[in-house]
Symmetry: D2
Subunit: 311 residues, 4 copies
C-alpha cells in the first residue's frame, strides 16, 4: 500500500519542511517539494499529492497572502489541521566555533531582517551575506562551497546536515510564530473537539456602510467569535471586498452551521475552507444559548408550534 504524499514549499530545510515534519512525526509519508505554495496546492487538486502543508500567516519565507487566495480558487480544498511554530533560527557552522570567531554570516534577506536586532547585539561586527534561501546557505556550509563562516537556518538544520549548532532560538521577537495548515481534498471532516476553527471566504453583497456589519451580525447572533478577519479587494472597482475569516466553532456544531446558512442566504460567494482543531487547544467558551443542546431545545419548541398547523 502506498504512503500518503505531502506536498510542501521546498526544498528540504525550510520552515515549512520543519512544520511538515512536526505534523507527521511518527508517521511514514512520502514528500513532494514544490517551488511555491500554489504548486503545492495544485498537486493536491490534481491528485499527485494527498495533502499539502503550507504557511498561512506571518511566514518567514513569504508568499502567504497568496495562500488563502489560492485555497479559495479552483477545485475545492479544505484545511484539516493547523500547526504553529515559533520563528526562531539556528546559528550553524561547518565546525565547532564560538560566536566571536564568526566573520561572515549568511541567510535569506528575510531571515537577516528578522534577526537584525539579535545580530547587532550578538554579532556586532559580522559581515552579512544574502543567500537565495534559508536552506541554501546551510547547504553551502555542509558541502564546503560557502564563502562565509556560519548561517542562520530553520530549526533542525544542524542535525539534518551534520553541522555544528553554535546557538539556537535566534530571533528578534520571542513571540513571532508562523501558522501552517495541512490541506486536503474534501471528505470526512475532522471531528468536533470543542476547540475548533472554521475558515471561510465571504464576499459582501454590496458596498455600503453597514454591509460588513450585517455580515458580522450573522456570527454575533449565534455567539460565534472570530479569531481572524482580513479584507481583500476584489476586481478593479473600489468598494468590492472579499473577507477571509477564521471563526471559533466547527461546522459540526449547530451555531456554526447556522452562521453558514445565514451567510449563504445573503452573500454572493461563501467558500467553506474547513473545520479543524485550533492549534492552541484552548476550549472555546460557549455563550449562553448557543450550545447544541440549546439549539435542539429551541428547534423542538418551534417545531411543536409549527406542527400544530399540521392536522
Amino acid at each position: 500500500m502506498s504512503l500518503p504524499v505531502y506536498a510542501f514549499l521546498g526544498p528540504e530545510g525550510t520552515f515549512t519542511d520543519a512544520a511538515l515534519r512536526a505534523m507527521t512525526a511518527g508517521v511514514e509519508i512520502e514528500t513532494l517539494p514544490t517551488v511555491d505554495v500554489p504548486a503545492a496546492l495544485s498537486a493536491v487538486r490534481s491528485g499527485e499529492a494527498d495533502f499539502a502543508v503550507v504557511a498561512i500567516e506571518n511566514t518567514v519565507e513569504g508568499g502567504v497572502t497568496a495562500t488563502l487566495d489560492t485555497l479559495a480558487e479552483g477545485a475545492p480544498l479544505v484545511i484539516l489541521e493547523e500547526y504553529v511554530i515559533p520563528v526562531a533560527f539556528e546559528l550553524v557552522a561547518r565546525d565547532a566555533r564560538t560566536m566571536a570567531s564568526i566573520g561572515r554570516v549568511a541567510a535569506h534577506a528575510h531571515g537577516l531582517a528578522q534577526c537584525r536586532r539579535w545580530i547587532s547585539t550578538n554579532l556586532p561586527d559580522v559581515i552579512q551575506v544574502a543567500a537565495t534561501s534559508n536552506s541554501a546557505a546551510a547547504v553551502a556550509l555542509a558541502d564546503g562551497t560557502a564563502d562565509f563562516d556560519a548561517a542562520l537556518a530553520p530549526p533542525g538544520t544542524a542535525k539534518r546536515l551534520g553541522l555544528h549548532l553554535v546557538t539556537d532560538g535566534v530571533a528578534d521577537n520571542s513571540k513571532a510564530a508562523t501558522r501552517f495548515v495541512r490541506v486536503g481534498r474534501p471528505g470526512a471532516l475532522p471531528p468536533v473537539t470543542g476547540a475548533d476553527k472554521t475558515t471561510l471566504v465571504v464576499h459582501l453583497p454590496h458596498d455600503r456602510a453597514g454591509a460588513l456589519l450585517e455580515m458580522l451580525e450573522q456570527f454575533a447572533v449565534r455567539g460565534v467569535n472570530l479569531s481572524r478577519i482580513e479584507s481583500r479587494p476584489i476586481g478593479d472597482k473600489p468598494g468590492e471586498y472579499a473577507f477571509s475569516i477564521d471563526a471559533l466553532a466547527h461546522v459540526g456544531e449547530a451555531r456554526m452551521a447556522e452562521v453558514l446558512v445565514g451567510l449563504k442566504r445573503t452573500c454572493p460567494v461563501v467558500t467553506f475552507l474547513g473545520s479543524y482543531p485550533a492549534a492552541h487547544g484552548v476550549p472555546t467558551p460557549v455563550a449562553r444559548g448557543t450550545s447544541d443542546v440549546d439549539y435542539d431545545a429551541a428547534h423542538a419548541w418551534v417545531e411543536r408550534i409549527r406542527s400544530a398547523s399540521g392536522s
Copy 2:
C-alpha cells in the same frame, strides 16, 4: 351540533360588538358578553367559549394595555385573526330631528373626548352628558328613559335599536382606528398567506445598553420587519423589560421560525401568541436571501458539508 361561542366585552352595542359582527358575518354563532377583556379571555381558557374577540390597540373603550399582558399570562392562547375598524360614531336620536334641534347629547366620557372637535364645530351650543357606556346612552334613548336628545354610539346602533340616524362618521380624526383580534386555544395555525403577522412577548436576558439591540438583531439577520414593538416594565426593579412585538412573517415561514429559535435560545421568556393574516392584506416584501427557497438551498449546502463528516 353546537354553535361556536364567542366571548366579547359587552354589552351589545359596543365597538367590540361591532367588530365581532363584522368578523363573523354570515356565520351562525353564539355570543357571550363579559364585563372586561380578562373575563373574555378566561372564558376561552376555561372552555366556556371557543373564541374571544378583544380590542388590542387604540381602543375607544379603553382597557387595551391589559389585553396583551393578559394574553401572555396563564394557559396558552393564540391570535387567529385581526380586524381593524375605524373609530367613528353614529349620532342617534329617538325621533327624526336635525342637529340644530339637539340640546343635550350623551356618550361615555371617552366618546365625548374623542369627538370633542367635531362637537364644538357641529353642535357648538349643545350640553354634554356623560353616560356609563357608549351603548347605555343609546339604550336609554330607545327605552324612553333618557334626559337628553341624542347620543353618540358605535356604528350600527341606530339600526339595531330602531333609532333615528342623525348622521354617521362622527370623529375628530378620520384615520383613528381600533384593532381587534380573534383569540382561541392553540391548535391548527392559520395558513401562510404572504401577508402575515406573528405576535410575541419577549423578555430581555439582562439590563445593559445593547441587550435590546441584540434581541432585534435576531429579527434583522433574517430580514424580518416589525410592525409593532412596545416595552413593558417587569416586576419592581428598573431595568427589566418585556417586549410585546408584532413581526411581519408567519411561523410557517423559515425566516420567522429561525427568529423564534434565536429568541428562544437567548431570551429567558419567549411567548408565542399566534401567526395570522395581517388585516391590511398587503403582501410583505421578502428581502433577498430570506425566502423559504433561499433557506432550503442554504440548509442543503451546509448539510452537504456536514454530511462529509459522516463516513
Copy 3:
C-alpha cells in the same frame, strides 16, 4: 404676583388630581381642570396655564395613548418632572359601615374592572353600579344622591369629601401604577441628577428590516439604555412608524447629546420632549467610556490630531 396655574384632567378627585397634589405639595398653586388631556396641554400651549399634569402610562382613567401623541404635535412642550402613583382605590361610604353591610358599590367601569378580583373576594355578593367617573360616585355619596352604599374612589377621597373610609389599598395588582408627568413650555431644563430620562419621538427614515436596528444603534454605541419604546403607525401606509422613546440619560450629558445628534442627522423627524429626573431615583449606571469625562478626553485627543492640520 400670580400663582402658577396647573391644568389637569378634572374634575377634582381623579387619580390625576391626586398626582397633581402630590407633585405640588407645600406649594401654592392655582388649578385648571380640563375635560381631557389634549385640553390640558392646549392650555399650556396657549399660556392659559403654566403647567399641565397628565397621565402618560397605564392610567386608570384611560386616554393615555393620546398623551404622547398630543405632546409631540403642535407648539413645543417639554416634560419637566415625572411622578408614579400606585393604582389603588379607597372604598368609601357615607357613614361608618363594615364591608358586610355593603349591598351596592359604584365606580367607573374601568375602576370596577381593575378591582374585579378584589371585589369577588371581599364583596362576593355586592351589586356593581357603573358611574360616569371615579369621582362622580363619591360625590353622589357625599351629597346624598347616591342609590348605592359605597364607592371605589382615588386615594384621598374620603378625607376630601368627608366620607367614611371603609378600607384603602383596594387593587387587584399591588404593583400596578400610573406614571404622570408635569409638562411646560420649553425653557430652562431641569438639572442633570444622574438618574434622568429623556423622552423623544423619532420617525424612521424608511421601511426595511434593519431600519429600527440602525436607529437603536445610535443609542447603543453611546451606551444609552432605553426604559420605554413604543411604535406607532404613521399615516395610512403599512410600514411607516414613529417611535416613542424614554432613554436613561439627560441631554445635558454628552452621551445623550451625541445620540440626539445622530438621530437628527439620520431620521426625518426627531422631537425632543424633555430631560427630567426619573421618578425611581436610582442612579443610571454609566458604561465604560460614556461619561462626560470620557467624552471630553476623546474630543480633546481628536482635536489635537485635527489641529495639527494647522492653518
Copy 4:
C-alpha cells in the same frame, strides 16, 4: 537649503525604489536606502530622514505584515500619501536578444514565483536561477558577472542600468498591484479631498462575541465605510486582537472625527496613522445625514436644546 531625505527599502532598483521615484517625480530629493522597512521607519523617527516610502500591502519583496505593526509602535508616525503600482516585471538582458535565445533567467525566488505561469508559457525550456534580490540579478547582468542570460526586474531597470529590454509587463496576474505609502512625522495633515482614507490600529476592549461588531458599529452609525480590515493577534492569549483598518473618510470630516471619538472612548488602544488622499481618487459617496453640513445642523439643534438650560 537642504533637500528632503527619503528613506526606502533599498537598494536602488527595487519596486519600492520605483514607487519612490514615481511619488517624487519632478522634485529634487535625497534618498536613504535601508536594509528593511523597520530601518526606514526608524530613520524618520530619529530625524535622519524626513519621509519613508514603504510597501504596505501585497508586496513583491515581502516584509509587509511588519509595516503596519512597525508604524503603530514607537514614536508617532503618520501616512501622508499612498501610491499603487502594478506588479509587473521587465525581462532584461545584457545585449539585444529574443526570448528564444534565453537559456537561463534569474530573479529573486518571489519574483520567479509571481511570474511562474508567464515563464512556463513564454520561456518553457528556460533554466531558472534564484538571486538574492530582484535588483541583484540585473546588476550582475550589467557588470558582466552573471552566469545567466536575462533577469526579471522591476520597471525602469533596463533604462537605469543600460540593459536591453526584451519585454515588459511580465506578470501572471494583470491586476496584481502593490500599495506604497509615504510616511512622515506628525504635523500638518494633508487637506480633505473627498476621496480620502484614514488608517487606524484599534485594540478591542475584551474578547466576546460581538466586541468586533460593537467596534464596527462606531463606523456604521456615522456612515463611514472601511476599505481594509485585518486582525492581528496580540500577545500570547487567544482572544486578544488588534485591528488594522483603513476607513474611507478624513479626520478633518465630522463623521470620521466622531468615529475616532467613539473608538477612543471605548477601546483600550486607538492609534491614528494618518488621513490622506486615496490613490484611486474616486470620490467617496457620502451617505444621507453624514456630511459636515448635516453634522453642523444637528449639533446646532442640540445646542439650542441644551442652552435653554440657561444659566
